[in-house]
């Protein structure tokens, strides 16, 4: 598959990357691992005038403990993060979701920042330009309709990051650098929950750091997939429990994750949360498994993940 024409620029630091973005008048993409972006460009789903390579920025490649948090640079690869001692000890849910992401070769290339900021996916969106033109453009391609759900008023594309769910369950926050300076937001605030434009990032903003509170937790990640390797979650559930309180995050269905707090980890509360998640998840026929099966599995995987997280804690 041949790439369309674009310029390639390599940034040495964040200020230079932002200056390059300004120079391209907003028609540029930031490139890290490229495992999500390059296929999108090949399918003409993204048509940048320039690619700004962030891999040369040293600051984005480090993991360090500072105060009460683990600060992970956005360009740390999934594989490097998985192998970091603190992750396995403190954040078992994150360890499991990193391990479940795609396959080892892509984990060695893909970055944690890129994994969080991957675009939402749909069976009728991630297709070649010819295919999409024949079918007619949907909301996400700038059209006036949804090709999956007739008469829908919103886009139903799925946000398929495994690690966003476990990071959300751990209460992570993000540091962003943009044209108007730096800001810090809770990870939950990253999601606009609109499939057409799934993130609240401003144009030209770069995700620089992920801050995870350094508290020991027990947790688990459950992923519904058909191949067991090189596939996106058809449903993902992450659970982390700290000091008797838990948080359940359900993703892979719809443009943003669902988040539930588990006030006590007794049986009744767990059943309530699992049922509520099942009721609120709205899968449609835009993935390789049927919507009704994915909906049923929300409850099953939520219960399974919480039970496993509790068992590990004992």
């Amino acid at each position: 598959m041949i790439l369309p024409k674009f310029d390639y620029k390599k940034a040495e630091d964040i200020a230079q990357a932002i200056a390059l973005y300004k120079g391209a008048r907003g028609r540029a993409c930031y490139l890290a691992g490229g495992t999500d972006l390059v296929p999108l460009v090949k399918l003409r789903l993204s048509t940048p005038k320039a690619m700004i390579d962030l891999k040369g920025i040293e600051q984005l490649n480090t993991i360090l403990r500072k105060g009460n948090s683990l600060i992970v640079g956005a360009n740390v690869t999934l594989f490097a993060l998985k192998k970091h001692a603190a992750v396995k000890d403190y954040f078992p849910a994150l360890y499991e979701s990193l391990d479940a992401t795609s396959c080892e070769t892509l984990q060695m290339r893909g970055t944690i920042g890129g994994n969080l900021l991957q675009n939402t996916r749909c069976l009728l969106y991630n297709k070649s330009l010819d295919w999409r033109t024949a079918r007619g453009f949907c909301y996400k391609m700038g059209g006036e309709t949804c090709n999956v759900v007739p008469y829908a008023v919103a886009c139903f594309s799925n946000y398929c990051s495994d690690n966003a769910l476990s990071l959300l369950s751990l209460g992570a926050s993000l540091k962003l650098a943009g044209l108007e300076g730096e800001r810090k937001i809770k990870l939950d605030k990253l999601f606009s929950r609109d499939g057409r434009n799934p993130f609240t990032l401003k144009p030209g903003e770069i995700l620089t750091e992920i801050h995870i509170p350094l508290k020991r937790s027990t947790g688990a990640y459950e992923k519904l997939r058909v191949r067991n390797a090189i596939d996106y979650p058809l449903l993902g559930v992450a659970v982390s429990i700290k000091e008797g309180k838990g948080r359940v995050c359900v993703g892979g269905i719809g443009p943003g994750p669902l988040v539930y707090d588990l006030k006590d980890v007794a049986g009744a509360a767990l059943k309530d949360v699992a049922q509520q998640a099942r009721q609120e998840a709205k899968p449609v026929a835009n993935a390789t498994l049927s919507a009704s099966y994915r909906k049923k599995m929300v409850q099953v995987l939520t219960e399974r993940a919480v039970k496993r997280a509790l068992k590990e804690g004992k």
Binding site: P4, Y8, G34, V38, L106
Partner: protein, 159 residues
């Protein structure tokens, strides 16, 4: 589009080229350097047939832009062994019958080599996990896994 000068090492030989900014490493290897061992199948990073080793890390060369590997050291399947002097992995793949149509084989061997370089004696579980990065449509996975384990045992008995 500005043409970019890049220089890197391929199979221990230095290469300097002028490339288009939107050229993938796979295109450069196959079309400019005549190294046609790495194959293009899906072109989207799913299958692993284009795997080459860049600075010790196995990469899907269809997802890497050539300007990104400026200064890197690249190993392709052509750099592993020559006729009559094959790499242990290549020998094991032949002995164990791990090659059917052969299209995925170069990617499989490069993924396996990167694994054996960082872990001399992987368990079967680790081999299965790493080799699941690549797709074989003849679905001869069992023999491929046997071949990788066989190559690992040969390497360690030699050392």
């Amino acid at each position: 589009m500005k043409i970019i000068n890049v220089s890197f090492e391929v199979n221990s030989e230095p290469v300097s080229l002028q490339v288009k900014p939107y050229e993938t490493l796979l295109e450069t290897l196959r079309e400019r350097l005549d190294l046609i061992g790495a194959k293009e199948a899906c072109g989207l990073g799913s299958c692993g047939a284009c795997t080459v080793i860049v600075d010790g890390i196995p990469l899907r060369s269809c997802l890497v832009l050539t300007p990104e590997v400026n200064g890197a050291s690249i190993t392709t399947i052509e750099g592993l062994g020559k006729d009559g002097n094959l790499h242990p992995l290549q020998e094991s793949f032949m002995e164990k019958g791990a090659v059917q149509c052969g299209f995925c084989t170069s990617g499989m061997i490069m993924t396996a080599k990167a694994l054996l370089d960082r872990n001399k004696r992987p368990s079967k579980k680790e081999v299965v996990k790493t080799m699941s990065s690549n797709i074989c449509r003849c679905t001869g996975y069992k023999k491929i896994i046997e071949a990788v384990l066989d190559a690992a045992s040969k390497e360690t008995s030699k050392a």
